[in-house]
């Protein structure tokens, strides 16, 4: 297997009034060529920070990558000069964001915003770039792309904007697309359209996708492999079928159980009690221990490691690891 992106031991810290917060704490993951990796987790668990760390788009003054490596096609992006990172960013790794409403510049025409990266990275002439922008719009299924290219963001609906974002990301045919909750702000019917589009593009362009979401349904439909995050760490990693069928980590199990099912019956939801811990004040042992129904004394004292329990299935749980060994 060829690893396109390999993140290892990534730690990202924030300086806040309350002290230094480690928002991402030792994340290791890899995205292979052509696959879709999902990152799932509750709000604030560090999904976005992980993706911004990869893109090196963190707010500079208050955050820093404290440790780790981010290898893209074998080269550590953290060691590269800024210029090279820029050459990768938007060109070979592209990103789309959660908020299609605010992620487009309100004062520039759609066409220009799309052609911008083409001109910058592919050194196309203005005319070529403009044509390419229209072509991209057509590709993402926007009707009358010539006309839309001349419009502004506020004239488009949310779904259209997200298509534009995708077009913008795809303009340089990136190897990797990082999608940070690309459909959370959209209605289900529109979400279905966008997800279809992404799948289609992946097949035709052969790119890899790093899909960040908190919606397990989206994961089930889109991803090949899944990483579950909890409080800045990965707690479980597996291919999608395994994860849904045989989840190991109590958090994953709880998450799946708490979902109201559209298909099938549910009289009462199983909920995970308590709430996500404050990143400034994490439990000393397993971070999930306070909410874990199965937690034993050990869980409060020891910090579990992420270990591969079965081939391709890792889990950060002392109990599971015990069971296996």
């Amino acid at each position: 297997m060829t690893e396109l992106l390999e993140v290892s031991g990534l730690c990202t810290e924030f300086t806040t009034a309350a002290g230094t917060i480690r928002a991402v704490d030792g994340i290791s993951l890899s995205v292979r060529k052509g696959e879709t990796l999902g990152i799932v987790g509750e709000s604030g668990c560090g999904k976005s920070i992980t993706s911004l760390s990869i893109m090196q788009l963190l707010p500079k003054r208050i955050s820093r990558i404290a440790a780790g490596q981010i290898r893209f096609e074998g080269r550590d992006m953290l060691e590269m000069p800024v210029k090279e990172v820029r050459g990768i960013r938007g060109n070979r790794i592209a990103m789309i964001f959660q908020e299609p409403m605010t992620s487009l510049n309100p004062v520039f025409k759609i066409g220009r915003q799309i052609s911008e990266s083409a001109r910058f990275h592919l050194k196309l002439s203005k005319k070529e770039a403009d044509e390419r922008a229209v072509e991209m719009l057509r590709k993402v299924g926007i009707p009358r792309p010539e006309k839309i290219a001349q419009q502004y963001a506020h004239q488009l609906s949310g779904g259209m904007r997200q298509r534009v974002m995708i077009a913008m990301a795809m303009v340089c045919s990136p190897q990797l697309l990082i999608a940070d909750e690309p459909t959370t702000a959209l209605d289900v019917t529109i979400q279905a359209q966008i997800l279809d589009l992404m799948r289609e593009l992946q097949q035709t362009e052969g790119m890899s996708i790093l899909m960040i979401t908190h919606d397990l349904g989206v994961v089930a439909e889109m991803c090949d492999r899944v990483v579950i995050m909890y409080a800045g760490q990965i707690v479980e990693e597996a291919d999608v079928a395994t994860l849904f069928n045989k989840p190991l980590h109590p958090y994953t199990q709880g998450l799946l159980a708490s979902l109201p099912q559209l298909a099938g019956e549910n009289d009462r939801l199983t909920s995970i009690p308590g709430q996500v811990p404050n990143p400034a004040n994490l439990p000393s042992g397993c971070r999930f221990a306070p909410r874990c129904p199965a937690a034993v004394d050990r869980c409060w004292a020891e910090r579990p490691e992420l270990l591969e329990i079965r081939p391709g299935h890792s889990c950060r749980c002392l109990l599971q690891q015990e069971e296996v060994s």
Binding site: L104, P106, V107, F108, E116, S117, F120
Partner: protein, 325 residues
Amino acid sequence: MIPALLGIIVITFILSRVLPGDPAIMLAGEQAPEETVNKIRQDMGLDKPLYIQFFSYFGQLFQGNIGYAYHTGHSVASDLATRFPATLELTLASILIAILVAIPVGIIAATRKESILDHISRVFSLIGACVPIFWLGLMFIYIFYSILGWAPAPMGRISGDLNPPSHITGLYVLDSILSGDLIALKSSIVHLVLPAICLSTGTMAIVARMTRSSMLEVVDQDFVRTARAKGLKESAVIYKHALVNALIPTLTVLGLQFGYLMGGAVITETIFSWPGIGGYVTDSILAADYAPIQAFTLVSAILYCGINLAVDLIYGLIDPRIRYE
């Protein structure tokens, strides 16, 4: 616009009429006996009830007649025609200075937040906002004219032994450029510099602060992150994507500054013997000369509305969201 205008007219009228002091006495001179004063009062229509005075004022206004200035002996229209260009030139020059200095300063401060440059520019803009114009003006004259001899005599808009450039716009600098009169150009610029700087300090300070804070705000926004994610150079991100958006609030502030500048002109003109409308209105207020007060407030209120209308139009140019609404 029309109700606002009506409001402005009514308020102006009331304001000028509640001013104590009798223009008839001023006109007659202090040695004039009562009969003379009464005669003048009748001629001026001041013996009529207030509401009749208002209607006649309003009627006159409707016919484009803004009255007669007793303290100068000219029709207000002709007074304004001779003095207004001077004030306009002064005001425009200070706006220009404010824009040319403050916007770059604000941008630099914002992009290098918390750096020495930022601190210096913030301190300067804070000081600019709190130095009284009248004090600054007096100091300027003392230092630059009296001691150093760099500045020309604080006496009008152009050196006394020169003829003003031929009247095209009434703005000496512009007129001398248009008529190719280099000597007049130099003289009118050196006469303009001190009063314009003096008047612009407050505006400069406010615009710099505004630019800085709106820049900081914009730099935080999603679409700027999108631009960065495209791999664009930082300068392109700041100057292409962020700046235009940041200029919108700055523009609002500039529009609102107009009223302040007109007020500031009153003082600046007094100190620098600038033959503008500011000194004129001060005299009018002190002399209880109604017509010029009414005309001045009316004109500046209309101008204020006009300028803010223009600001709105410029918004439209910058911000398509407004254009299409």
